[in-house]
C-alpha cells in the first residue's frame, strides 16, 4: 500500500514536471501557427498576425502561457462599441443657431452585458412555458457550466421560437444600455442616450461623446452633422476631424497615433496645424500631429485634443486608447487542472480542427435517432452502433491495437516456448526465419505491399480507412463486419512486427531457464514434461516478458503512426503527429501527457505482476 502511494505521488510530480517541460519545448519550436499564416497567404497583414496572436494568447512569454493553460484565464471586460451613426442634417433658425440631437439607443452596444440565469428563467417561465418545459428535459442545459448556461438557453430559444428570440434580444439590448453612461464632449450635452449640441456656423460638424461602461472603460464616438443655412454670407465650417478608430496599445514604448491623417481640410493651403491636448488627457502631441505616450495600467481611456489651422479655426476631437485588458472574473476559462474536477472541456480546444480536444479523442456524440416505439433490443443496437461509429481517436486506436497485441501474444508466446524447447530443430529454424522477417520488415513498405496485393490487385479487402461512410444506416451487423474488414490489413501488418519481436524475447527467456538446476530437479522428481515446462520453466521465463508487455501498454494507446498513416486510420498516433506538425499545442500536450501516464501505469502494473509471477518478490 505504501509502495502504491509512493508510486502515485511520484507520478504526480513527474506529470507536473513533464507538462511544464513539454509546454516550454512546444512553444520554443519555431513557427507557431499564427506566424505560419503570414507565410502561406500573401494577403495576411502584419497587424492581423499581431491581433491573432493576442487572441490566442501567443504574445505572452511561455511561462505565462503555461499558467493560462494549466490554471485558466479570465476573458477581459469589453468596452462598449458604436456603429456608424447616420449623418444628420439640421437647419439654422433666425438667430443663426442650429440644434442637433442624436439618439444613440440603436447605435451603441454594451458588449459586456450578460443576462442572469434567474432573469431569463423568469422571462421564459412566464412568457413561453412550452419552451421552459423542453428546457428542463434538455441535457445540454443540465450539463452546461454556470458560465455557459445562459448562452445555451438563448440558443435553444432561437431554434424553438425565432420571433420570441428577437423580442428577448431587444429586451436585453435595452437592459444592457442601462449600464452605460453617455457624456457629450466639447459643448455637447447629454440626457440618457441622447446627445445634443448647438452649432453657430453652417457646414460640416462632428458631435463627439464618450461612453463609459460599469468598470470605467471609455469609448469615444462621434456623428457627422451638416448644418444648412439659407443665408449666403455666413462662413461655412469645413474644418473637422474625422472619427478616429479606437487605438490599441500593443507595445507601450512604440505606441503612437498619426492624428494628422484624420484631420479633414478642403483647402490644403491651410495645412499647418497646431495640436494641443485638452486638460485631463495624458501624453503629448508634436507639431506633425503624432501622438505619443507610454501608457501603464489597464483599461480604456479617452484622449481629447484640439487642432488649430492657419486661419485660427479650431476643431476638437477625441479617440479612445485600449491599454492592457481588465480581466472579468465572470468570464473565467478553465484550464487543464480542472480536468481533475471532471470538466472535460478543460482539456482544451484544437485550433487545427476547431473542436474540443476531448471530442477529438473520445469521439463526437452520435446523432440521436428517434428511438420511440422500438423494442429494447433495437434501442440497444442503435446505441451501440452509434458508439462504434463515433468512437473517436482513442476508440479507433484501441480497436486496432488490442486485437493486434492479443493476436501477437497468442501466436508469439507459444511459438517462442516451442522453439526454445526444441532448440536447433527444423521448427526452431523456420520460426526464427519468420521472426527475423517480421522484425526487419519496414512497416511502411510492408503495409503498402499488403495493400497493393489485397486491395489493389485481388480487391478482397478495402484499401484503408476505418469504415465505409454512412454504413451506420445499415444496422449493427453491417457496421461490425465493415469495421472488421477494414481492420484486417492494419492488424496483420502490426501483428507481424510484434510477433517477431516477442517471439525472440520469449525464446531467449525460455532458453535461459531450461538448463537450470531446478528444471532438472523437477524432471528428476518425475513430473510430466507438461508440468515442468508450463509450471516451472514458463513461470520463471515470464518475468522479463512481463516487463516488456507492461511497457507495451503505452504503445496500445500511442498507436502506430506509420500503420495509421498508410491505412488512413484515424487513430491517436496520426493525431499526435499532425498536431505537432501543425503546432496544435493543446492536442499535442494532452496526448503526450496521456502517453506519459500510461507508461507509468504500465510500470506500476509490471511491478504488481511480478508479485504474481515471481514468488520471491513480496511488497511490504
Amino acid at each position: 500500500m505504501k509502495h502504491l502511494l509512493y508510486r502515485f505521488s511520484q507520478m504526480l510530480v513527474i506529470i507536473a514536471f513533464l507538462s511544464m517541460a513539454l509546454f516550454a519545448l512546444l512553444s520554443a519550436m519555431p513557427g507557431n501557427p499564427v506566424d505560419m499564416l503570414v507565410m502561406s497567404n500573401p494577403r495576411v497583414k502584419p497587424e492581423d498576425v499581431v491581433r491573432l496572436k493576442k487572441l490566442r494568447g501567443l504574445d505572452k512569454p511561455w511561462h505565462v502561457q503555461y499558467v493560462r493553460w494549466i490554471w485558466g484565464y479570465d476573458d477581459p471586460f469589453r468596452a462598449a462599441t458604436t456603429q456608424k451613426i447616420e449623418p444628420v442634417t439640421v437647419h439654422m433658425d433666425k438667430e443663426n443657431r442650429a440644434l442637433a440631437s442624436i439618439d444613440l439607443s440603436d447605435a451603441i452596444f454594451n458588449n459586456n452585458y450578460r443576462m442572469q440565469k434567474d432573469e431569463i428563467t423568469k422571462l421564459i417561465k412566464t412568457n413561453r412555458p412550452q419552451i421552459w418545459q423542453k428546457m428542463q428535459a434538455n441535457s445540454a442545459i443540465q450539463t452546461a457550466s454556470s458560465n455557459e448556461v445562459v448562452d445555451v438557453m438563448l440558443e435553444l430559444i432561437a431554434t424553438e421560437d425565432q420571433a420570441y428570440y428577437q423580442v428577448l434580444q431587444k429586451n436585453m439590448q435595452q437592459k444592457s444600455l442601462q449600464e452605460l453612461t453617455v457624456n457629450g464632449l466639447f459643448g455637447a450635452s447629454s440626457k440618457g442616450l441622447t446627445v445634443t449640441q448647438t452649432f453657430y456656423t453652417p457646414g460640416f460638424h462632428q458631435i463627439w461623446f464618450v461612453i463609459k461602461n460599469k468598470v470605467g472603460l471609455e469609448t469615444v464616438g462621434s456623428a457627422t452633422v451638416t448644418v444648412e443655412s439659407t443665408k449666403k454670407n455666413l462662413v461655412k465650417n469645413t474644418f473637422v476631424v474625422n472619427p478616429i478608430p479606437s487605438q490599441v496599445v500593443d507595445d507601450p514604448k512604440l505606441f503612437k497615433v498619426d492624428l494628422a491623417s484624420y484631420v479633414d481640410q478642403e483647402n490644403s493651403n491651410l495645412k499647418a496645424y497646431h495640436y494641443q491636448l485638452l486638460e485631463g488627457s495624458q501624453g503629448s502631441i508634436d507639431q506633425n500631429g503624432i501622438y505619443t505616450h507610454i501608457f501603464d495600467g489597464a483599461g480604456q481611456t479617452a484622449i481629447l485634443f484640439v487642432v488649430t489651422n492657419k486661419q485660427g479655426h479650431q476643431a476638437k476631437a477625441a479617440f479612445s486608447v485600449e491599454k492592457a485588458p481588465i480581466p472579468d472574473p465572470a468570464r473565467f476559462n478553465r484550464g487543464f487542472i480542472f480536468v481533475f474536477a471532471g470538466d472535460k472541456n478543460a482539456l482544451g480546444f484544437s485550433n487545427t480542427y476547431k473542436r474540443p480536444v476531448w471530442e477529438l479523442l473520445a469521439g463526437t456524440p452520435s446523432v440521436t435517432t428517434p428511438t420511440v416505439g422500438l423494442s429494447l433490443w433495437a434501442r440497444i443496437k442503435i446505441k451501440v452502433t452509434g458508439m462504434i461509429v463515433s468512437s473517436g481517436r482513442i476508440g479507433n486506436t484501441l480497436q486496432l491495437m488490442i486485437p493486434a497485441i492479443l493476436l501477437s501474444l497468442i501466436i508469439a508466446l507459444p511459438l517462442g516456448i516451442l522453439s526454445a524447447y526444441r532448440q536447433y530443430s527444423w521448427l526452431d529454424y523456420i520460426v526464427n526465419f519468420f521472426a527475423f522477417i517480421g522484425i526487419s520488415l519496414p512497416v511502411f513498405w510492408f503495409a503498402i505491399m499488403v495493400m497493393y496485393l489485397f486491395a489493389e490487385n485481388l480487391q478482397w479487402l478495402p484499401a484503408g480507412g476505418v469504415q465505409t461512410p454512412s454504413i451506420q444506416d445499415e444496422g449493427l451487423s453491417a457496421v461490425l463486419s465493415d469495421r472488421l474488414t477494414h481492420a484486417i490489413l492494419p492488424t496483420l501488418v502490426l501483428s507481424i512486427a510484434y510477433i517477431g519481436r516477442w517471439l525472440r524475447y520469449m525464446r531467449a527467456a525460455m532458453l535461459e531457464i531450461l538448463p537450470a538446476d531446478y528444471i532438472r530437479t523437477a524432471r528428476a522428481k518425475g513430473l510430466s514434461e507438461k508440468v515442468v515446462i508450463l509450471k516451472h520453466a514458463l513461470r520463471n521465463a515470464l518475468i522479463p516478458i512481463v516487463t516488456i508487455l507492461a511497457l507495451s501498454i503505452p504503445a496500445l494507446f500511442g498507436g502506430a503512426v506509420l500503420t495509421e498513416t498508410v491505412f488512413s486510420w484515424p487513430g491517436i498516433g496520426r493525431l499526435e503527429y499532425d498536431a505537432i506538425a501543425s503546432s496544435d499545442y493543446y492536442v499535442a500536450i494532452v496526448v503526450f501527457l496521456i502517453a506519459a501516464v500510461l507508461v507509468m501505469i504500465g510500470n506500476l502494473l509490471a511491478d504488481l505482476l511480478y508479485v504474481i509471477v515471481d514468488p520471491r518478490i513480496r511488497h511490504g
Binding site: 507459444p414 516451442l418 484499401a463 484503408g464 454512412s470 484515424p570
Partner: protein, 561 residues
C-alpha cells in the same frame, strides 16, 4: 509428446480464429453498397473547419464550396462570373458609383441577389445574411485571418422589400471590390443567436463542423479523420439542382493509399488537393486507359528569392547571369515532362497582368559568363569557381527539406551554375523552421526557394512593396522576402489597387511585370500544376488551378450512363 500437443493446440487456436473471421462477412462492400448516384473523392488533407469565417485550408475550401454562397466565382478560365449575384457591378451598368462625402472620394457597389438560392432549411438567401456575416468579419475579437477587404468597407446594408439588394459602401475606390472571396454569407437565422450569446465561443460551436449551406449541396456528416458527406440541398432550384445525390470525401493522408483506393474502386476521383505531380505521372503510365487525368496550371508560383541585402546579389548583373545560367526549360522537361510551364515573370499566362514582352532569360551560358565577368567575377586559371578580390562566388541555397521536386531542382541548378563558375551549397530545413524562422526573419544568406499562391484578380503588391520588407520595425511581418525596394515599382503597385478600370489596371500590372523582369529580385521557376484524376464517365469535372476549388460547378457534375 508435449510438442505434439502444443502444436495441436496452436493449430486448433488458429482454426478457431479463422472460423470466427469467416463467419463474419468479409467481402469488401464497395460496389454493391454504393448508391446509384454518388461520388466519392479522395483527398489528402483534412479541412480545418467548414465554417466560413474560420476556414483556411484548401481542403476546407473544396468541401464547403459544394454549397457556394459567394456573390461571384471564377470559372475554369479564371473569368469572374456572377454567382449568387445577378450581375457584377461596374461603372458601365451604373451599379458601381464613385461619390464624395466630407470631401473624401468613396465608392458604392450595389448587388442584386438571385431568387434561386435557398439555405438547406428552405429559407431564402438574402442580403441580410451577407450583412450579418460582414458584422462577424468586422469584429476584432473573431479569429478572422484576412481582413484586407473588410477594412476597406465602410458599411454594408440590406435594401429592398424582400431584402435582396446588397449595398456596399467603400471608404475609398477599391479595384478588387468584386473578388469572389470577399462577400460570403452564413445563415443569419441560425448563427446570429450563437454569435450574440458569446462572440468568442462562435469559433468553438459545433455548427462549424456540419454547417448549413445554400448551394446545390449541404454538409450532412463529418467524421474526423475519416470522411465528410455532402448531400443534395432539397431546396436547390433550377440550374442549381445537382445531378449527383451525394458527394463523399474520404480523408486519406498517404498518397500511395489514395492510388490504391482509386484502383480498388473505393473512391471515384482524386481531388486536386491530393496527389504529388510526379506520382500522378507515374500513375498515368500504368493506368492511362481507365481514368481521366487533369493537369491544370495554376497560380502557385515557384521561385528563388535572392537576398538583396547581400553585397554580391545586390549587383543586378549577377542575378541576371544566374537566370541565364539556369536551364529552366531543361529542368521542366526532365522533372515534369514539360507540363509545368516555366515562369518568366510573376504572372501566369491566364492572368490579366501577364506580359509576354518582358525581358526573358533563356538558357544562355555565354551571356551568363559575360555578365559575371563584367561584374568583376573572374575565373582564374585552373579554378572552377569565379572569384573577386580573393573571394569565391559562392551562395547558399535553401528550401524545405523533404520536398522531393524542390530538392531535385536544387541539385540540377547546382550543377548548371557550377558550369558558369558559381558554387552553390545546399542547406535545407524542415518546413516549420524554414517558413517560421528563416524566411520570416530573412535569415537566409543568399537564396531561398519557395512558392506563393497568388490571387487571380489582384496585383500582389504585398510581395514587392518597400514597406513590406520584414524587419524589426514591423515585427518581421512582411512578405517581401527578397527585400526588393524600387520607387517606381512602389508607385505602380499602390496605384493598381485604386484603379477601377480593368484595362488600365492590366496595363499597370503589365508595366510592373516588365520592370520586375528587368530588376529580377528573384528567379522565377515554374507555375505549379494541379493534378486530379477521375474515373472515366464523370462529366464536367473542371479544376481551376487557383484558390477557387474544383467544386465550384458541382451541380453540373454527372455520370454518363
Amino acid at each position: 509428446m508435449i510438442t505434439k500437443k502444443i502444436v495441436l493446440k496452436i493449430c486448433r487456436l488458429i482454426v478457431a480464429t479463422l472460423c470466427v473471421a469467416s463467419l463474419l462477412d468479409c467481402t469488401p462492400r464497395k460496389q454493391e453498397n454504393r448508391k446509384e448516384s454518388s461520388l466519392t473523392i479522395g483527398i489528402s488533407q483534412e479541412p480545418d473547419s467548414l465554417f466560413m469565417p474560420y476556414k483556411e485550408m484548401m481542403a476546407a475550401e473544396e468541401v464547403s464550396r459544394v454549397g457556394t454562397y459567394t456573390l461571384t466565382i471564377f470559372d475554369e478560365n479564371w473569368k469572374l462570373i456572377p454567382w449568387v449575384a445577378k450581375e457584377i457591378p461596374t461603372l458601365e451598368n451604373k451599379k458601381l458609383e464613385l461619390f464624395r462625402e466630407n470631401g473624401q472620394l468613396k465608392m458604392r457597389s450595389t448587388w442584386e441577389i438571385k431568387d434561386d438560392f435557398f439555405w438547406a432549411d428552405g429559407r431564402p438567401l438574402t442580403a441580410d445574411d451577407f450583412v450579418f456575416t460582414y458584422e462577424i468579419y468586422k469584429d476584432p475579437s473573431q479569429e478572422i485571418i484576412d481582413r484586407t477587404v473588410i477594412e476597406k468597407i465602410e458599411k454594408m446594408e440590406s435594401k429592398g422589400k424582400d431584402h435582396k439588394t446588397l449595398v456596399v459602401t467603400w471608404k475609398e475606390p477599391y479595384a478588387y471590390y468584386h473578388n469572389y472571396r470577399q462577400h460570403e454569407a452564413v445563415p443569419k437565422h441560425i448563427v446570429e443567436p450563437i454569435y450574440r450569446a458569446s462572440p468568442e465561443k462562435l469559433k468553438k460551436h459545433p455548427f462549424g463542423q456540419t454547417p448549413m449551406l445554400a448551394g446545390p449541396y449541404t454538409i450532412k456528416e463529418w467524421s474526423p479523420g475519416s470522411h465528410i458527406i455532402a448531400i443534395r440541398n432539397l431546396f436547390a432550384k433550377g440550374y442549381l439542382k445537382p445531378h449527383i445525390d451525394e458527394i463523399i470525401w474520404r480523408i486519406i493522408p498517404q498518397t500511395n493509399t489514395l492510388e490504391s483506393n482509386l484502383v480498388s474502386g473505393t473512391i471515384d476521383a482524386i481531388s486536386p488537393v491530393g496527389l504529388d505531380f510526379d506520382q500522378a505521372l507515374e500513375f498515368e503510365k500504368r493506368h492511362k486507359n481507365n481514368y481521366n487525368f487533369y493537369y491544370t496550371s495554376g497560380l502557385v508560383w515557384e521561385h528563388i528569392d535572392f537576398n538583396l541585402d547581400n553585397e554580391i546579389l545586390k549587383d543586378k548583373r549577377v542575378r541576371q547571369a544566374l537566370a541565364y545560367g539556369a536551364n529552366r526549360e531543361g529542368i521542366g522537361q526532365l522533372l515534369f515532362k514539360g507540363r509545368q510551364p516555366v515562369a518568366h515573370g510573376t504572372e501566369p499566362q491566364k492572368s490579366p497582368y501577364f506580359n509576354d514582352n518582358i525581358r526573358k532569360y533563356p538558357f544562355d551560358k555565354t551571356k551568363a559568363n559575360q555578365l559575371l565577368s563584367e561584374a568583376g567575377w573572374i575565373k582564374k586559371d585552373g579554378e572552377e569557381i569565379r572569384s573577386k578580390n580573393g573571394k569565391p562566388l559562392a551562395f547558399i541555397l535553401m528550401t524545405t527539406a523533404g520536398n522531393k521536386s524542390r530538392e531535385r531542382i536544387e541539385q540540377l541548378l547546382q550543377s548548371q551554375w557550377r558550369e558558369i563558375g558559381v558554387d552553390i551549397q545546399i542547406q535545407n530545413q524542415p518546413a516549420k523552421v524554414f517558413f517560421g524562422d528563416t524566411l520570416r526573419r530573412r535569415k537566409y544568406a543568399h537564396m531561398a526557394m519557395f512558392s506563393w499562391v497568388k490571387d487571380p484578380l489582384a496585383v500582389s503588391d504585398t510581395l514587392w512593396r518597400c514597406d513590406y520588407i520584414p524587419s524589426s520595425k514591423n515585427g518581421f511581418l512582411g512578405q517581401n522576402q527578397s527585400g526588393f525596394c524600387n520607387a517606381k515599382a512602389d508607385q505602380l503597385l499602390k496605384s493598381a489597387s485604386l484603379e477601377l478600370d480593368n484595362q488600365k489596371r492590366a496595363k499597370i500590372g503589365q508595366e510592373f511585370e516588365a520592370l520586375w523582369a528587368e530588376e529580377l529580385p528573384s528567379l522565377p521557376l515554374f507555375f505549379r500544376v494541379d493534378v486530379s484524376i477521375t474515373k472515366k464517365g464523370l462529366k464536367n469535372w473542371k479544376p481551376t488551378g487557383i484558390l477557387q476549388p474544383v467544386t465550384w460547378n458541382s451541380q453540373e457534375w454527372s455520370w454518363t450512363k
